[in-house]
Subunit: 347 residues, 2 copies
């Protein structure tokens, strides 16, 4: 197990975030000034897979800090339907680990041609995406070999935080961001805890993951790791959407993974955790909220509490470890998920 590439990359995350923050803080501060002068009115983000989950994080972060509505792009509009979107006043961001996905590049090409400000967030400075965009923020995650993205996901979140906080002139927030690599380091100590929970979940065939607000992204990303690595049909929900229909799924011992840390939605998630317990769900809670942890069959207390808007960078670590150990518990090789390649070129 210790020779796993995936586990090694999970543990490289603190160092990767430190490199990103060191290398990109100054160039991103300059980029933020440029973008502010252009007075963008809204944001569009083009991404797929884990990168799309990073975009979900940006919806909350940029909405709250900058008052900017954030749309997730629908690439096939560009590549298949030949739509010419107006993009006036838009900031258009493409996020891709490889920078090689043709459909993401097409959205950036179209947006740049239409006069929008364009930014690439990628691990590869020479990639088509980096060449297509006017500006680039590099992830500095070193090569990611695992098919399941881990360090490129958390560095994408950090890159989006760096850009947003810089645009908001939020120096207090930028100072907190500097402490996140240490908080991730501490979270890695959950390894044994997550192995034990994985053992108890080894026979699950389906699950839901639930978050709200900033952790909506975390719910999506943990669900994706579970699907890629363990073939558990794990579906992500916002706490609100879940109550508009899918809560019907919950019956005795149905596995639910709740991600909820202290902050503006903690009361909502506390109420939902009690309702889920009443419905008989088998509840794993990744949290630092005592009432939520008490309601859970498997409480996972996050070792360090960080401000809500930064917690997606720590809480997801617990989910990565859970997916890794659950793969092992199910006799699967987390370094070789079935049917996947590292770079998926959709058009």
């Amino acid at each position: 197990m210790n020779t796993s590439t995936l586990l090694k990359e999970i543990h490289e995350q603190p160092a990767a975030l430190r490199r990103l923050i060191d290398a990109e803080s100054e160039p991103v501060a300059r980029l933020a000034r440029t973008l502010k002068e252009r007075e963008c009115q809204y944001v569009v983000i083009a991404a797929r897979g884990s990168s799309d989950n990073a975009a979900r994080y940006a919806q909350y972060l940029m909405g709250a800090a900058l008052g900017l509505p954030v749309a997730l792009a629908t690439p096939s509009l560009h590549t298949r339907y030949g739509a010419r979107l107006r993009f006036e006043g838009a900031l258009v961001i493409g996020i891709s680990q490889s920078g090689a996905s043709p459909d993401i590049c097409t959205v950036i090409d179209d947006a740049r041609r239409a006069g929008a400000s364009t930014v690439a967030i990628t691990n590869h400075p020479e990639s088509p995406l980096a060449r297509a965009a006017e500006f680039t923020i590099l992830l500095h995650a070193d090569v990611e070999r695992s098919i399941a993205a881990t360090k490129t996901y958390t560095t994408q979140l950090a890159a989006l935080a760096l850009l947003t906080l810089s645009m908001a002139n939020d120096h207090a927030g930028l100072a907190i961001l500097q402490t996140v690599p240490d908080a991730i380091e501490a979270t890695l100590s959950l390894d044994d805890r997550m192995r034990a929970i994985a053992g108890a979940m080894a026979d699950a065939t389906a699950a839901v993951t639930i978050g709200r607000g900033y952790h909506y992204a975390t719910a999506w990303e943990i669900a994706l790791k579970l699907k890629e690595l363990t073939y558990v049909v794990a579906e992500p929900y916002s706490a609100a959407d879940f109550q508009h229909g899918p809560i019907a799924l919950v019956r005795d011992d149905f596995p639910v993974i709740l991600i909820a840390t202290a902050g503006a939605v903690a009361d909502d998630l506390t109420m939902l955790s009690l309702r889920l317990r009443d419905l008989g769900a088998h509840l794993t809670a990744i949290s630092d909220v005592p009432a939520i942890l008490e309601a859970a069959d498997h409480p996972v207390l996050l070792p360090v509490s960080v401000e809500e808007r930064f917690a997606p960078m720590t809480a997801v670590i617990a989910g990565q470890l859970l997916a890794f150990h659950l793969a092992h518990a199910r006799g699967l090789d987390p370094d070789n998920p079935r049917g996947l390649r590292k770079v998926t070129e959709t058009r």
Copy 2:
């Protein structure tokens, strides 16, 4: 089975769409002129559950016909994080059958206060949502008693098509929209076919639904019906996102429901259907594309082919019937899904 409220409402859809088109064509034409004069630059749609799936349809329809990027709102930004979004140049649409969801109303309130153009799409003219918005498009679906939305979903799609085609001055498109109620009527003849497929799927615990472009919405809506009515953990995907990770789920006999009709993405979906067959998926295809139907274990030939952008109003009927019959095949009552109320008031 014939006394089911749900089945009755599924069959009311042609009449409901006819009422909507008759009653709203003229007022929506006036609304479209007003909105065009205001030169909206992008669209934000606030919705939950089935209504959010109607919003997904609008992303493609408005993007292709009007060149407008469409963002799906994140209501908790407004209700929990106190964000004040700028909304300059935005058209903000709230979609809700009941018009009673407080969080959707809050987004519309905030947008109207910020100076955006606001439109409510609802079945209830006296609802809080209708009162909050500057303009209202009524669904004319009569009372919907079933907890699972059917006729309010297809009328929402038709209302969005009416608004979009009117804004685009697309008289040919508006003429085709008039024929959609008849096409839905014809699609209802799939009842026996869907009952037979439901019988073969009775033991499924999980499934994925896949669409691309306009049918991304159809994939989401059929997955939601399956979850609400049959407790099958059905997860929706775009064909592209599915290949960025979740395709790892597919193993022998894993149930996949593909929705793909003739049009710009038919070649992509044909290739995916062949790949799914190679991976051993158990494939149900709702389609009018011969190559896709040939690749399927359960081909569902749509009786009437309509232009791609209108096909979400017909193809979803097959999925509604499948969910209804699968509930029966699993010994469940489709009129009383577990844990759900008709109006879910999330904040």
